[in-house]
Amino acid sequence: MTGIADTLSTFVGGRARESGPSSKADMMTKAVVIVVAGLLLIYILLPVFWMLKSSFQTSFDIRQMPPQWIPSSFTLSAYNDAGVLIPIWRYLFNSTLVSLVASVVATAMAATAAYVLSRFRFPGATTILTLILVTQLIPPITRVFPIYSIIQDLHLLNTYTGVIIAYVGFSLPFAVLLLRGYFQSSCPPELAEAAMVDGCGYFSAFWRVVLPVSAPGIAAVGIFTFLNAWNDFLWASLLVSSGEMKTIQVGIGDFASEGGGITYVNAFMAACVLATVPALIMFIFMQRWLVSGLTAGSVKN
Protein backbone atom coordinates (compact mmCIF):
# COMPACT_ATOMS: atom_id res chain seq x y z
CA MET A 1 0.00 0.00 0.00
CA THR A 2 2.90 2.35 0.64
CA GLY A 3 3.62 2.07 -3.05
CA ILE A 4 0.39 3.79 -3.93
CA ALA A 5 0.82 6.35 -1.17
CA ASP A 6 4.32 7.13 -2.41
CA THR A 7 3.04 7.47 -5.90
CA LEU A 8 0.34 9.84 -4.83
CA SER A 9 2.51 12.02 -2.65
CA THR A 10 5.52 12.35 -4.93
CA PHE A 11 3.95 12.38 -8.29
CA VAL A 12 4.63 15.54 -10.17
CA GLY A 13 7.91 17.40 -9.70
CA GLY A 14 9.76 17.25 -6.41
CA ARG A 15 11.26 14.21 -4.76
CA ALA A 16 9.92 11.69 -2.29
CA ARG A 17 8.73 13.26 0.90
CA GLU A 18 7.94 11.31 4.01
CA SER A 19 5.22 13.63 5.14
CA GLY A 20 4.02 17.11 4.54
CA PRO A 21 0.72 18.77 4.02
CA SER A 22 -0.79 17.98 0.66
CA SER A 23 -3.38 20.51 -0.31
CA LYS A 24 -6.72 19.60 -1.78
CA ALA A 25 -5.75 21.20 -5.07
CA ASP A 26 -2.67 18.99 -5.25
CA MET A 27 -4.70 15.85 -4.64
CA MET A 28 -6.99 16.86 -7.49
CA THR A 29 -4.05 17.52 -9.79
CA LYS A 30 -2.52 14.18 -8.95
CA ALA A 31 -5.77 12.32 -9.49
CA VAL A 32 -6.28 13.95 -12.89
CA VAL A 33 -2.69 13.22 -13.96
CA ILE A 34 -2.97 9.58 -12.90
CA VAL A 35 -6.24 9.06 -14.75
CA VAL A 36 -4.98 10.74 -17.93
CA ALA A 37 -1.68 8.86 -17.81
CA GLY A 38 -3.54 5.60 -17.28
CA LEU A 39 -5.71 6.20 -20.34
CA LEU A 40 -2.67 7.17 -22.38
CA LEU A 41 -0.91 3.97 -21.32
CA ILE A 42 -3.78 2.02 -22.87
CA TYR A 43 -3.28 4.00 -26.08
CA ILE A 44 0.45 3.23 -25.95
CA LEU A 45 0.17 -0.47 -25.20
CA LEU A 46 -3.01 -1.63 -26.97
CA PRO A 47 -1.48 -1.71 -30.49
CA VAL A 48 1.49 -3.79 -29.36
CA PHE A 49 -0.76 -6.19 -27.48
CA TRP A 50 -3.06 -6.41 -30.49
CA MET A 51 -0.14 -7.21 -32.81
CA LEU A 52 1.19 -9.97 -30.54
CA LYS A 53 -2.26 -11.44 -29.93
CA SER A 54 -3.18 -11.43 -33.61
CA SER A 55 0.07 -13.11 -34.62
CA PHE A 56 -0.75 -16.15 -32.47
CA GLN A 57 -4.29 -16.62 -33.77
CA THR A 58 -5.63 -18.72 -36.61
CA SER A 59 -7.06 -16.86 -39.58
CA PHE A 60 -10.52 -18.02 -38.46
CA ASP A 61 -10.23 -16.87 -34.84
CA ILE A 62 -8.84 -13.51 -35.84
CA ARG A 63 -12.03 -12.64 -37.74
CA GLN A 64 -14.39 -13.48 -34.89
CA MET A 65 -16.81 -10.77 -33.90
CA PRO A 66 -16.88 -9.84 -31.04
CA PRO A 67 -13.08 -9.84 -31.18
CA GLN A 68 -11.27 -12.27 -28.90
CA TRP A 69 -9.24 -10.23 -26.43
CA ILE A 70 -7.48 -13.35 -25.22
CA PRO A 71 -7.03 -15.88 -28.06
CA SER A 72 -8.98 -19.09 -27.54
CA SER A 73 -6.06 -21.08 -28.93
CA PHE A 74 -2.41 -20.30 -29.49
CA THR A 75 -0.84 -21.30 -32.77
CA LEU A 76 2.41 -20.52 -34.56
CA SER A 77 0.90 -21.20 -37.98
CA ALA A 78 0.87 -17.47 -38.81
CA TYR A 79 4.66 -17.38 -38.53
CA ASN A 80 4.86 -20.33 -40.87
CA ASP A 81 2.47 -18.63 -43.31
CA ALA A 82 4.50 -15.42 -43.14
CA GLY A 83 7.53 -17.40 -44.35
CA VAL A 84 5.53 -18.64 -47.34
CA LEU A 85 3.48 -15.56 -48.28
CA ILE A 86 6.20 -13.02 -47.64
CA PRO A 87 9.71 -14.51 -47.93
CA ILE A 88 10.17 -13.16 -44.45
CA TRP A 89 13.36 -15.01 -43.54
CA ARG A 90 15.12 -13.85 -46.65
CA TYR A 91 13.99 -10.26 -45.99
CA LEU A 92 15.15 -10.48 -42.40
CA PHE A 93 18.53 -11.68 -43.64
CA ASN A 94 18.74 -8.78 -46.12
CA SER A 95 17.82 -6.25 -43.45
CA THR A 96 20.31 -7.66 -40.96
CA LEU A 97 23.12 -7.67 -43.50
CA VAL A 98 22.69 -4.16 -44.85
CA SER A 99 21.98 -2.65 -41.43
CA LEU A 100 25.00 -4.33 -39.88
CA VAL A 101 27.47 -3.31 -42.59
CA ALA A 102 26.07 0.23 -42.80
CA SER A 103 26.22 0.57 -39.03
CA VAL A 104 29.86 -0.56 -38.79
CA VAL A 105 31.02 1.66 -41.66
CA ALA A 106 29.06 4.72 -40.51
CA THR A 107 30.12 4.37 -36.89
CA ALA A 108 33.79 4.00 -37.83
CA MET A 109 33.72 7.11 -40.02
CA ALA A 110 31.72 8.99 -37.41
CA ALA A 111 34.11 8.08 -34.60
CA THR A 112 37.20 9.51 -36.33
CA ALA A 113 35.38 12.66 -37.44
CA ALA A 114 33.61 13.20 -34.13
CA TYR A 115 36.88 12.83 -32.23
CA VAL A 116 38.73 15.61 -34.04
CA LEU A 117 35.63 17.79 -34.16
CA SER A 118 35.21 17.48 -30.41
CA ARG A 119 38.87 17.95 -29.49
CA PHE A 120 40.77 20.17 -31.91
CA ARG A 121 40.20 23.61 -33.36
CA PHE A 122 41.18 23.67 -37.00
CA PRO A 123 40.20 25.91 -39.93
CA GLY A 124 36.90 24.75 -41.38
CA ALA A 125 35.81 22.73 -38.35
CA THR A 126 32.74 24.91 -37.75
CA THR A 127 31.76 24.76 -41.42
CA ILE A 128 32.11 20.97 -41.47
CA LEU A 129 30.00 20.68 -38.35
CA THR A 130 27.35 22.96 -39.84
CA LEU A 131 27.21 20.89 -43.04
CA ILE A 132 26.76 17.74 -40.96
CA LEU A 133 24.06 19.37 -38.83
CA VAL A 134 22.19 20.65 -41.89
CA THR A 135 22.26 17.17 -43.46
CA GLN A 136 20.90 15.72 -40.25
CA LEU A 137 18.11 18.28 -39.84
CA ILE A 138 16.75 18.62 -43.38
CA PRO A 139 14.34 15.74 -44.10
CA PRO A 140 15.70 12.99 -46.40
CA ILE A 141 12.87 13.36 -48.95
CA THR A 142 14.64 16.52 -50.21
CA ARG A 143 17.56 14.48 -51.50
CA VAL A 144 16.18 11.11 -52.63
CA PHE A 145 15.90 11.84 -56.36
CA PRO A 146 19.56 12.70 -57.05
CA ILE A 147 20.75 9.87 -54.81
CA TYR A 148 18.47 7.50 -56.73
CA SER A 149 20.11 8.75 -59.95
CA ILE A 150 23.62 8.36 -58.52
CA ILE A 151 22.98 4.78 -57.41
CA GLN A 152 21.35 4.05 -60.77
CA ASP A 153 24.33 5.49 -62.69
CA LEU A 154 26.68 3.31 -60.65
CA HIS A 155 24.51 0.29 -61.65
CA LEU A 156 23.91 -0.42 -57.98
CA LEU A 157 20.09 -0.51 -57.95
CA ASN A 158 18.86 -3.70 -56.28
CA THR A 159 22.24 -4.48 -54.77
CA TYR A 160 23.29 -4.58 -51.15
CA THR A 161 26.13 -2.16 -51.91
CA GLY A 162 23.77 0.52 -53.23
CA VAL A 163 21.49 0.55 -50.23
CA ILE A 164 24.44 0.32 -47.82
CA ILE A 165 25.99 3.43 -49.38
CA ALA A 166 22.70 5.27 -48.96
CA TYR A 167 22.38 4.14 -45.34
CA VAL A 168 25.90 5.24 -44.46
CA GLY A 169 25.12 8.68 -45.85
CA PHE A 170 21.79 8.73 -44.07
CA SER A 171 23.08 7.66 -40.63
CA LEU A 172 26.46 9.35 -40.59
CA PRO A 173 25.44 12.90 -39.53
CA PHE A 174 23.45 11.66 -36.55
CA ALA A 175 26.29 9.36 -35.47
CA VAL A 176 28.84 12.19 -35.71
CA LEU A 177 26.69 14.55 -33.65
CA LEU A 178 25.99 11.96 -30.95
CA LEU A 179 29.60 10.80 -30.70
CA ARG A 180 30.90 14.34 -30.62
CA GLY A 181 28.72 14.99 -27.59
CA TYR A 182 29.92 11.75 -26.06
CA PHE A 183 33.62 12.53 -26.55
CA GLN A 184 33.10 15.98 -25.06
CA SER A 185 31.30 14.77 -21.98
CA SER A 186 32.85 11.37 -21.27
CA CYS A 187 36.40 11.31 -22.61
CA PRO A 188 38.74 13.78 -20.89
CA PRO A 189 41.38 15.31 -23.19
CA GLU A 190 44.08 14.54 -20.60
CA LEU A 191 43.90 10.87 -21.59
CA ALA A 192 45.13 11.42 -25.13
CA GLU A 193 47.57 14.08 -23.98
CA ALA A 194 49.12 11.67 -21.47
CA ALA A 195 49.48 9.04 -24.17
CA MET A 196 51.19 11.58 -26.41
CA VAL A 197 53.62 12.54 -23.65
CA ASP A 198 54.46 8.82 -23.55
CA GLY A 199 55.42 8.98 -27.20
CA CYS A 200 52.23 8.13 -29.05
CA GLY A 201 51.43 10.03 -32.26
CA TYR A 202 48.05 11.67 -32.77
CA PHE A 203 46.56 8.64 -34.43
CA SER A 204 47.94 6.01 -32.10
CA ALA A 205 46.74 8.04 -29.10
CA PHE A 206 43.28 7.95 -30.67
CA TRP A 207 43.52 4.28 -31.62
CA ARG A 208 45.10 2.88 -28.46
CA VAL A 209 43.66 5.12 -25.77
CA VAL A 210 40.58 7.07 -26.85
CA LEU A 211 38.82 4.27 -28.74
CA PRO A 212 39.07 1.60 -26.02
CA VAL A 213 37.95 4.05 -23.36
CA SER A 214 34.98 5.17 -25.45
CA ALA A 215 33.86 1.68 -26.41
CA PRO A 216 30.48 1.89 -24.62
CA GLY A 217 29.51 5.14 -26.33
CA ILE A 218 30.67 3.91 -29.72
CA ALA A 219 28.75 0.67 -29.25
CA ALA A 220 25.59 2.59 -28.40
CA VAL A 221 25.95 4.82 -31.43
CA GLY A 222 26.55 1.67 -33.49
CA ILE A 223 23.24 0.29 -32.24
CA PHE A 224 21.57 3.58 -33.07
CA THR A 225 22.83 3.56 -36.65
CA PHE A 226 21.83 -0.10 -36.95
CA LEU A 227 18.29 0.77 -35.89
CA ASN A 228 18.23 3.76 -38.23
CA ALA A 229 18.95 1.46 -41.15
CA TRP A 230 16.72 -1.33 -39.87
CA ASN A 231 13.72 1.00 -39.49
CA ASP A 232 14.17 2.72 -42.83
CA PHE A 233 11.53 2.37 -45.51
CA LEU A 234 12.09 5.32 -47.84
CA TRP A 235 15.59 4.51 -49.12
CA ALA A 236 15.07 0.77 -49.33
CA SER A 237 11.76 1.13 -51.17
CA LEU A 238 13.60 2.97 -53.94
CA LEU A 239 16.95 1.22 -54.01
CA VAL A 240 16.07 -2.43 -53.40
CA SER A 241 12.51 -2.74 -54.64
CA SER A 242 12.55 -6.01 -56.52
CA GLY A 243 12.00 -9.57 -55.40
CA GLU A 244 14.61 -11.22 -53.26
CA MET A 245 16.52 -8.06 -52.40
CA LYS A 246 13.83 -6.28 -50.38
CA THR A 247 14.42 -5.41 -46.76
CA ILE A 248 11.88 -6.45 -44.17
CA GLN A 249 10.31 -2.99 -43.97
CA VAL A 250 9.78 -2.85 -47.74
CA GLY A 251 8.46 -6.42 -47.65
CA ILE A 252 5.86 -5.46 -45.04
CA GLY A 253 5.00 -2.19 -46.78
CA ASP A 254 4.50 -3.89 -50.14
CA PHE A 255 2.51 -6.72 -48.58
CA ALA A 256 0.21 -4.10 -47.07
CA SER A 257 -0.24 -2.21 -50.33
CA GLU A 258 -1.01 -5.45 -52.18
CA GLY A 259 -3.90 -6.06 -49.78
CA GLY A 260 -2.19 -8.90 -47.89
CA GLY A 261 -2.70 -6.99 -44.68
CA ILE A 262 -6.42 -7.65 -44.96
CA THR A 263 -6.49 -11.14 -46.46
CA TYR A 264 -3.79 -12.68 -44.28
CA VAL A 265 -3.89 -10.52 -41.19
CA ASN A 266 -2.35 -13.05 -38.83
CA ALA A 267 0.63 -13.68 -41.12
CA PHE A 268 0.94 -9.92 -41.57
CA MET A 269 1.05 -9.39 -37.81
CA ALA A 270 3.57 -12.24 -37.42
CA ALA A 271 5.82 -10.49 -39.94
CA CYS A 272 5.43 -7.28 -37.94
CA VAL A 273 6.47 -9.05 -34.74
CA LEU A 274 9.55 -10.46 -36.47
CA ALA A 275 10.44 -7.01 -37.84
CA THR A 276 10.24 -5.56 -34.33
CA VAL A 277 12.15 -8.18 -32.34
CA PRO A 278 15.71 -7.17 -33.33
CA ALA A 279 14.97 -3.56 -32.50
CA LEU A 280 13.51 -4.68 -29.18
CA ILE A 281 16.64 -6.67 -28.29
CA MET A 282 18.91 -3.74 -29.09
CA PHE A 283 16.65 -1.37 -27.24
CA ILE A 284 16.86 -3.43 -24.05
CA PHE A 285 20.66 -3.40 -24.36
CA MET A 286 20.90 0.33 -24.57
CA GLN A 287 17.95 1.53 -22.53
CA ARG A 288 19.87 2.48 -19.39
CA TRP A 289 22.59 4.22 -21.28
CA LEU A 290 20.24 6.11 -23.51
CA VAL A 291 18.48 8.02 -20.80
CA SER A 292 21.64 9.08 -19.01
CA GLY A 293 24.37 9.64 -21.55
CA LEU A 294 23.29 10.26 -25.09
CA THR A 295 20.25 12.41 -24.67
CA ALA A 296 21.90 14.60 -22.07
CA GLY A 297 24.61 15.30 -24.62
CA SER A 298 22.22 15.93 -27.46
CA VAL A 299 20.13 18.33 -25.42
CA LYS A 300 23.18 20.30 -24.43
CA ASN A 301 24.33 20.59 -28.01
Binding site: D6, I138, F145
Partner: protein, 300 residues
Protein backbone atom coordinates in the same frame (compact mmCIF):
# COMPACT_ATOMS: atom_id res chain seq x y z
CA UNK B 1 53.71 20.16 -34.54
CA UNK B 2 50.76 22.41 -35.32
CA UNK B 3 50.91 21.38 -38.96
CA UNK B 4 51.01 17.72 -38.07
CA UNK B 5 47.92 18.19 -35.92
CA UNK B 6 46.09 19.85 -38.76
CA UNK B 7 46.90 17.06 -41.21
CA UNK B 8 45.70 14.55 -38.64
CA UNK B 9 42.43 16.45 -38.20
CA UNK B 10 41.72 16.67 -41.92
CA UNK B 11 42.54 13.01 -42.50
CA UNK B 12 40.26 11.94 -39.66
CA UNK B 13 37.35 14.07 -40.78
CA UNK B 14 37.77 13.42 -44.52
CA UNK B 15 35.68 10.24 -44.96
CA UNK B 16 32.73 11.62 -43.02
CA UNK B 17 32.95 14.96 -44.80
CA UNK B 18 33.09 13.27 -48.20
CA UNK B 19 29.99 11.21 -47.47
CA UNK B 20 28.15 14.21 -46.04
CA UNK B 21 28.84 16.25 -49.15
CA UNK B 22 28.23 13.52 -51.75
CA UNK B 23 25.14 12.04 -50.08
CA UNK B 24 23.84 15.05 -48.15
CA UNK B 25 24.64 18.52 -49.38
CA UNK B 26 25.15 17.80 -53.08
CA UNK B 27 21.89 15.84 -53.56
CA UNK B 28 19.92 18.56 -51.78
CA UNK B 29 21.28 21.18 -54.17
CA UNK B 30 20.92 18.86 -57.16
CA UNK B 31 17.31 18.21 -56.18
CA UNK B 32 16.72 21.93 -55.96
CA UNK B 33 18.31 22.37 -59.38
CA UNK B 34 16.14 19.57 -60.75
CA UNK B 35 13.06 21.52 -59.70
CA UNK B 36 13.96 24.23 -62.25
CA UNK B 37 14.28 21.75 -65.14
CA UNK B 38 11.77 19.85 -67.18
CA UNK B 39 12.48 16.30 -66.10
CA UNK B 40 9.92 13.82 -67.38
CA UNK B 41 11.55 10.40 -67.06
CA UNK B 42 9.52 9.01 -69.95
CA UNK B 43 10.53 11.76 -72.39
CA UNK B 44 14.01 12.47 -71.06
CA UNK B 45 15.75 10.44 -73.84
CA UNK B 46 14.69 12.56 -76.80
CA UNK B 47 13.69 15.68 -74.91
CA UNK B 48 16.57 16.18 -72.48
CA UNK B 49 16.14 18.30 -69.39
CA UNK B 50 15.68 21.92 -70.50
CA UNK B 51 15.65 24.75 -67.98
CA UNK B 52 12.11 25.99 -67.34
CA UNK B 53 12.57 28.43 -64.46
CA UNK B 54 9.74 28.44 -61.95
CA UNK B 55 7.34 26.51 -64.15
CA UNK B 56 7.31 23.38 -61.98
CA UNK B 57 6.54 25.43 -58.88
CA UNK B 58 3.72 27.18 -60.74
CA UNK B 59 2.42 23.83 -61.97
CA UNK B 60 2.22 22.31 -58.50
CA UNK B 61 0.82 25.49 -56.96
CA UNK B 62 -1.98 25.44 -59.53
CA UNK B 63 -2.73 21.83 -58.67
CA UNK B 64 -5.60 21.93 -56.18
CA UNK B 65 -4.49 18.61 -54.74
CA UNK B 66 -1.07 20.02 -53.97
CA UNK B 67 -2.47 23.10 -52.24
CA UNK B 68 -4.60 20.78 -50.11
CA UNK B 69 -1.47 18.69 -49.50
CA UNK B 70 0.46 21.70 -48.22
CA UNK B 71 -2.39 22.58 -45.85
CA UNK B 72 -2.54 18.95 -44.72
CA UNK B 73 1.21 18.91 -44.07
CA UNK B 74 1.00 22.00 -41.88
CA UNK B 75 -2.04 20.67 -40.01
CA UNK B 76 -0.50 17.23 -39.52
CA UNK B 77 2.64 18.82 -38.13
CA UNK B 78 0.69 21.17 -35.88
CA UNK B 79 -1.59 18.44 -34.52
CA UNK B 80 1.13 15.84 -34.08
CA UNK B 81 3.72 18.18 -32.56
CA UNK B 82 1.37 19.88 -30.10
CA UNK B 83 -0.19 16.60 -28.98
CA UNK B 84 3.10 14.75 -28.63
CA UNK B 85 4.67 17.60 -26.65
CA UNK B 86 1.66 17.85 -24.33
CA UNK B 87 1.72 14.10 -23.69
CA UNK B 88 5.49 14.18 -23.37
CA UNK B 89 5.27 16.89 -20.70
CA UNK B 90 2.74 14.86 -18.76
CA UNK B 91 4.78 11.65 -18.84
CA UNK B 92 8.14 13.31 -18.23
CA UNK B 93 6.68 15.03 -15.16
CA UNK B 94 5.27 11.75 -13.96
CA UNK B 95 8.47 9.81 -14.58
CA UNK B 96 10.71 12.37 -12.91
CA UNK B 97 8.89 11.78 -9.63
CA UNK B 98 10.01 8.96 -7.35
CA UNK B 99 7.51 6.19 -7.04
CA UNK B 100 7.64 2.45 -6.95
CA UNK B 101 7.56 0.91 -10.42
CA UNK B 102 8.89 4.03 -12.10
CA UNK B 103 11.41 2.10 -14.19
CA UNK B 104 8.66 -0.25 -15.29
CA UNK B 105 6.33 2.58 -16.33
CA UNK B 106 9.19 4.26 -18.18
CA UNK B 107 9.80 1.04 -20.09
CA UNK B 108 6.11 0.79 -20.97
CA UNK B 109 6.03 4.37 -22.24
CA UNK B 110 9.08 3.62 -24.38
CA UNK B 111 7.49 0.56 -26.01
CA UNK B 112 6.53 2.32 -29.30
CA UNK B 113 10.14 3.41 -29.73
CA UNK B 114 11.32 0.00 -30.84
CA UNK B 115 8.43 -0.41 -33.27
CA UNK B 116 9.64 0.60 -36.76
CA UNK B 117 7.37 3.23 -38.40
CA UNK B 118 6.27 0.81 -41.11
CA UNK B 119 5.27 -1.74 -38.49
CA UNK B 120 3.53 0.96 -36.44
CA UNK B 121 1.51 1.87 -39.53
CA UNK B 122 0.76 -1.79 -40.20
CA UNK B 123 -0.43 -2.58 -36.67
CA UNK B 124 -2.68 0.47 -36.55
CA UNK B 125 -4.13 -0.36 -39.97
CA UNK B 126 -5.31 -3.62 -38.49
CA UNK B 127 -6.37 -2.07 -35.20
CA UNK B 128 -8.38 0.59 -37.07
CA UNK B 129 -9.90 -1.75 -39.64
CA UNK B 130 -13.51 -0.52 -39.90
CA UNK B 131 -15.24 -3.89 -39.48
CA UNK B 132 -12.82 -5.65 -37.16
CA UNK B 133 -11.59 -2.86 -34.91
CA UNK B 134 -11.87 -3.67 -31.22
CA UNK B 135 -12.25 0.08 -30.65
CA UNK B 136 -15.38 0.20 -32.78
CA UNK B 137 -16.63 -2.91 -31.01
CA UNK B 138 -16.21 -1.34 -27.57
CA UNK B 139 -17.75 1.97 -28.60
CA UNK B 140 -20.79 0.13 -29.93
CA UNK B 141 -20.97 -2.05 -26.86
CA UNK B 142 -21.04 1.06 -24.66
CA UNK B 143 -23.68 2.60 -26.91
CA UNK B 144 -21.55 5.58 -27.90
CA UNK B 145 -21.88 4.98 -31.64
CA UNK B 146 -24.41 3.25 -33.89
CA UNK B 147 -22.32 2.64 -36.98
CA UNK B 148 -18.66 1.71 -37.14
CA UNK B 149 -16.24 4.61 -37.44
CA UNK B 150 -14.39 4.44 -40.75
CA UNK B 151 -11.07 5.47 -39.21
CA UNK B 152 -9.05 5.44 -42.43
CA UNK B 153 -11.70 5.70 -45.14
CA UNK B 154 -14.30 8.22 -43.96
CA UNK B 155 -14.61 10.91 -46.61
CA UNK B 156 -16.56 13.45 -44.55
CA UNK B 157 -14.69 16.61 -43.72
CA UNK B 158 -14.98 19.43 -41.22
CA UNK B 159 -13.11 22.21 -42.93
CA UNK B 160 -9.66 20.79 -43.58
CA UNK B 161 -10.07 18.16 -40.84
CA UNK B 162 -11.26 14.60 -41.29
CA UNK B 163 -11.31 11.34 -39.35
CA UNK B 164 -8.52 9.74 -41.42
CA UNK B 165 -6.32 12.78 -40.77
CA UNK B 166 -6.81 12.50 -37.02
CA UNK B 167 -6.29 8.72 -37.11
CA UNK B 168 -3.00 8.95 -38.99
CA UNK B 169 -1.86 11.82 -36.76
CA UNK B 170 -2.61 9.64 -33.73
CA UNK B 171 -0.28 6.96 -35.11
CA UNK B 172 2.48 9.49 -35.68
CA UNK B 173 2.07 10.74 -32.11
CA UNK B 174 2.16 7.15 -30.88
CA UNK B 175 5.41 6.40 -32.67
CA UNK B 176 7.07 9.68 -31.70
CA UNK B 177 6.09 9.91 -28.03
CA UNK B 178 8.98 7.94 -26.44
CA UNK B 179 11.63 10.17 -27.99
CA UNK B 180 9.86 13.27 -26.69
CA UNK B 181 9.49 11.81 -23.19
CA UNK B 182 13.17 10.87 -22.99
CA UNK B 183 14.23 14.22 -24.40
CA UNK B 184 12.15 16.12 -21.84
CA UNK B 185 13.27 13.85 -18.99
CA UNK B 186 16.87 14.73 -19.82
CA UNK B 187 15.86 18.40 -19.84
CA UNK B 188 14.12 18.11 -16.46
CA UNK B 189 17.33 16.78 -14.90
CA UNK B 190 18.91 20.18 -15.47
CA UNK B 191 16.40 21.98 -13.23
CA UNK B 192 17.86 22.43 -9.73
CA UNK B 193 15.89 20.56 -7.08
CA UNK B 194 16.15 23.29 -4.46
CA UNK B 195 13.93 25.54 -6.54
CA UNK B 196 11.05 23.11 -5.96
CA UNK B 197 11.94 22.79 -2.30
CA UNK B 198 11.91 26.55 -1.87
CA UNK B 199 8.53 26.72 -3.61
CA UNK B 200 7.18 24.01 -1.33
CA UNK B 201 8.24 26.00 1.71
CA UNK B 202 6.19 28.86 0.30
CA UNK B 203 3.25 26.52 -0.07
CA UNK B 204 3.13 26.38 -3.86
CA UNK B 205 0.75 23.85 -5.38
CA UNK B 206 1.86 21.31 -7.97
CA UNK B 207 0.30 23.27 -10.78
CA UNK B 208 1.99 26.46 -9.64
CA UNK B 209 5.35 24.70 -9.48
CA UNK B 210 4.81 23.40 -12.98
CA UNK B 211 3.67 26.76 -14.28
CA UNK B 212 6.29 28.98 -12.60
CA UNK B 213 9.35 26.71 -12.29
CA UNK B 214 9.23 23.79 -14.69
CA UNK B 215 7.85 25.47 -17.78
CA UNK B 216 10.10 28.60 -17.75
CA UNK B 217 13.26 26.61 -16.98
CA UNK B 218 12.39 23.96 -19.55
CA UNK B 219 11.85 26.60 -22.21
CA UNK B 220 15.20 26.27 -24.02
CA UNK B 221 14.80 22.50 -24.21
CA UNK B 222 11.19 22.88 -25.37
CA UNK B 223 12.22 25.32 -28.10
CA UNK B 224 14.88 22.92 -29.43
CA UNK B 225 12.38 20.07 -29.28
CA UNK B 226 9.66 22.02 -31.11
CA UNK B 227 12.10 23.01 -33.84
CA UNK B 228 13.33 19.43 -34.32
CA UNK B 229 9.80 18.01 -34.34
CA UNK B 230 8.54 20.66 -36.75
CA UNK B 231 11.31 19.89 -39.23
CA UNK B 232 10.79 16.12 -39.10
CA UNK B 233 7.04 16.71 -39.20
CA UNK B 234 7.21 18.77 -42.39
CA UNK B 235 9.29 16.09 -44.11
CA UNK B 236 7.46 13.09 -42.67
CA UNK B 237 6.83 10.26 -45.10
CA UNK B 238 6.46 6.65 -43.92
CA UNK B 239 3.34 6.47 -41.79
CA UNK B 240 1.11 8.45 -44.15
CA UNK B 241 2.48 6.60 -47.16
CA UNK B 242 1.89 3.12 -45.73
CA UNK B 243 -1.42 3.72 -43.95
CA UNK B 244 -3.38 5.59 -46.59
CA UNK B 245 -1.02 6.55 -49.43
CA UNK B 246 -2.56 10.01 -49.10
CA UNK B 247 -6.16 8.94 -49.50
CA UNK B 248 -9.12 8.90 -49.21
CA UNK B 249 -9.59 11.76 -51.66
CA UNK B 250 -6.24 13.32 -50.76
CA UNK B 251 -7.37 13.93 -47.17
CA UNK B 252 -4.17 12.56 -45.62
CA UNK B 253 -1.76 13.46 -48.40
CA UNK B 254 1.36 15.29 -47.29
CA UNK B 255 4.15 16.96 -49.23
CA UNK B 256 6.70 14.15 -48.95
CA UNK B 257 4.17 11.55 -50.13
CA UNK B 258 3.05 13.82 -52.97
CA UNK B 259 6.64 14.33 -54.05
CA UNK B 260 7.41 10.60 -53.92
CA UNK B 261 4.32 9.73 -55.94
CA UNK B 262 5.00 12.39 -58.59
CA UNK B 263 8.47 10.96 -59.12
CA UNK B 264 8.00 7.23 -58.79
CA UNK B 265 4.37 6.73 -59.85
CA UNK B 266 4.09 9.38 -62.58
CA UNK B 267 7.84 9.61 -63.38
CA UNK B 268 7.71 13.40 -63.09
CA UNK B 269 10.98 14.11 -61.30
CA UNK B 270 10.48 17.83 -61.99
CA UNK B 271 7.20 18.41 -60.16
CA UNK B 272 8.30 15.87 -57.57
CA UNK B 273 11.44 17.83 -56.84
CA UNK B 274 9.47 21.09 -56.86
CA UNK B 275 7.29 19.65 -54.08
CA UNK B 276 10.32 18.46 -52.12
CA UNK B 277 12.05 21.75 -52.94
CA UNK B 278 9.31 23.48 -50.99
CA UNK B 279 10.04 21.20 -48.04
CA UNK B 280 13.72 22.07 -48.40
CA UNK B 281 12.98 25.80 -48.38
CA UNK B 282 10.63 25.59 -45.37
CA UNK B 283 12.88 23.37 -43.27
CA UNK B 284 15.96 25.26 -44.48
CA UNK B 285 14.60 28.53 -43.07
CA UNK B 286 13.84 26.87 -39.73
CA UNK B 287 17.27 25.24 -39.81
CA UNK B 288 19.05 28.57 -40.25
CA UNK B 289 17.21 30.02 -37.26
CA UNK B 290 18.01 26.92 -35.24
CA UNK B 291 21.73 26.95 -36.02
CA UNK B 292 21.92 30.68 -35.30
CA UNK B 293 20.21 30.31 -31.94
CA UNK B 294 22.45 27.36 -31.05
CA UNK B 295 25.57 29.26 -32.04
CA UNK B 296 24.45 32.18 -29.87
CA UNK B 297 23.80 29.86 -26.94
CA UNK B 298 27.23 28.19 -27.22
CA UNK B 299 29.38 31.07 -28.45
CA UNK B 300 30.88 33.87 -26.36
Amino acid sequence: MKRQQRIFCYLMVAPALLFTIVLGIYPMLASLQMSFLEFDLIRVREHGTPFVGLRNYITVMQDERFVQTVINTVLFTAIAVSTVVAMGLLFSQLLSANFRGRTFVRMLVCVPWFVPPVVAAAIWMWLLNTDRSPINFLLREWGWIDTNIKFLTDKNTWGPFSIPMLSVAAVRVWNGLPFVVIFLLAGLQSIPRDLYEAAEVDGATLLQKFRYITLPLLRPVLVVLLILLTMTGLGHFEINFIMTGGGPQNLTNIMAVYSYNEAFTFFRFDTGSAASGLILILTGIICVFYIRSQAKAVGP
